[in-house]
């Protein structure tokens, strides 16, 4: 099955062919996927070796000369290890790049904590002017990547090994209403690859589901429009739980509201295993999600448990 990372390699190869402004900066990770592109564009496909600080700084320098750099490695090394380079060599220089990560959260559970960065989006939230895309399917990854590269701003595209069965007709920067509940329904915002789990969890319940493949900017207008009589909002994010809670508070500052932020738990989970094991450990499998939704919405008496 094609992964988002496979699609990223294909699309970026084509973007390099089509647009002389585009450059790709790597730090060994995924370099094997770009051999042909590197042969075709040796001056614009730059693998600096295992040097992530340099990778981000090089992107800043490329941008200062007018190029549009795409920068890629695992999220732990792209956002966490090189964070000051993002802050100073991109933001502070008024330079822009498209950062494309892989394996952000529990995507490679056998790899352990050193290869997990569930705080990546929260870290980028400390800086101004970052668009953050969290595709839930390879087709969405292509749409969002092309959109990001065609622009001039700072963008983070968070690719995952986790994916939904079907791509949705997303518009970059906008939430999509997938399920409209009654006027008394709570709203669940499902981010990227969490969508299938959320849809399974809310089966048969009166709940509105918004789908977010772009979380920054946060589509507060769509959230406000989705609310009925009840301002209860549940976020289900594939990274640190509650990362977008402040965005919900900002969007709903004018009215009393409640927010439940679900996602990767903060305590370090010293376990290996599979992605399914980790989703369950974080309470993000459909059964756990349904129970946590019910508890938050205080409708547990009327919520039938999922079959199976």
């Amino acid at each position: 099955m094609t992964t988002m990372r496979d699609r990223f390699a294909d699309v970026t190869g084509r973007l390099l062919d089509d647009d002389p402004r585009v450059a790709l900066v790597l730090a060994d990770i995924s370099a094997d996927r770009f051999r042909e592109a590197a042969a075709a564009h040796p001056d614009r496909v730059l693998n600096v070796g295992i040097r992530e600080q340099l990778m981000v700084s090089v992107a800043g320098g490329l941008a200062l000369t007018g190029l549009r750099p795409v920068v890629h490695t695992f999220a732990s090394f792209l956002v966490e290890r090189a964070f000051e380079q993002i802050k100073l060599d991109l933001n502070h220089q008024d330079a822009a790049a498209v950062l494309v990560s892989a394996n952000g959260s529990y995507d490679w559970p056998e790899g352990g904590r050193t290869h997990q960065a569930p705080g990546d989006v929260a870290l980028l939230d400390t800086l101004p002017d970052w668009t953050v895309h969290v595709p839930g399917h390879p087709d969405e990854a292509e749409t969002l990547l092309r959109h990001a590269v065609a622009g001039d701003g700072r963008a983070y595209v968070r690719l995952s090994e986790q994916r939904n069965t079907a791509a949705r007709p997303i518009t970059p920067g906008r939430f999509l209403t997938l399920r409209q509940g009654s006027a008394g329904a709570a709203v669940v915002v499902a981010v990227g690859p969490m969508l299938d789990l959320v849809l399974a969890a809310v089966e048969g319940l009166d709940i509105t589901v918004l789908y977010a493949a772009t979380v920054r900017p946060f589509d507060g207008a769509a959230l406000r429009a989705a609310l009925g009589d009840r301002a209860d909002v549940v976020l289900v994010e594939p990274y640190l739980a509650g990362t977008s809670a402040h965005q919900v508070d900002e969007a709903l500052a004018h009215l009393p509201h409640r927010v439940l932020g679900l996602g990767v738990a903060r305590p370090e989970l010293r376990r290996y295993g599979t992605m399914a094991d980790h989703l369950a450990a974080h309470g993000l499998d459909p059964r756990s999600l349904r129970a946590r939704l019910a508890a938050f919405l205080d409708t547990s008496a009327g919520v039938p448990s999922l079959a199976g």
């Binding site: 040097r51 340099l54 090089v58 000369t65 060599d89």
Partner: protein, 237 residues
Amino acid sequence: MTLTSDSRSPDCGLGYQDLPHLMGLMTGDEKHGPAATSTLDALWVLYDRVLRVTPQTAEDPERDRFLLSKGHGPMAYYAVLTAKGFLDPALLPGFGAFDSPLGHHPDRVLLPGVEIGSGSLGHGLPLAVGTTLGLRAQGLTDSRVWVLTGDAELDEGSNHEAIAYAGAVGLDALHTVVIDNSSATHGWTGGIAARFAGEGWSAVTVDGRDHEALYEAFTTPHPGRPHAVVAVVEPKR
């Protein structure tokens, strides 16, 4: 347009002898210790005789780039930029004030002719590597990139990522000036130039106060290799 040696900064009536006065407009004192002037001679020789960039070509894609990595103590830098017409002398007394563009660390967004904002150490050389690669990718092979660091700044590991990579790929449009005032807490066993030479750079060490020696070191040919000039000045302490 093609920038030639005639594209260096024009004589706008201010010279090397005016730099202490210009610095004094910022510091309130025309006498400056070695720390404040450690970069002064290297900066002057670069802007006066080497760099092909003027206030008129400060946005030209083909200009030479100078990146001040060692952003601490930028009075000498501002004074040279003023003497060469990039900055208005009237700005200097506002140094560090809320409504002044002249900070104690420079900000490229606020100042014409300033290629990077700096202050946190170890960012200029890696940015210069990217700038050099960007110029090469666009065929701007006549543009040269210069970066100025301090010897203590080389403590930052990010520099060593840049030094090793630039040497390995032979970025010959890249030049580094290291102002060595012996301020690195643990020193550099074997010397700073050896660190660059060991990674494949062309590297020379000169008296950082001797203008002719600096000029000769700055203009030494170094085909296929990046070039480092270690400019030794009085110890900081």
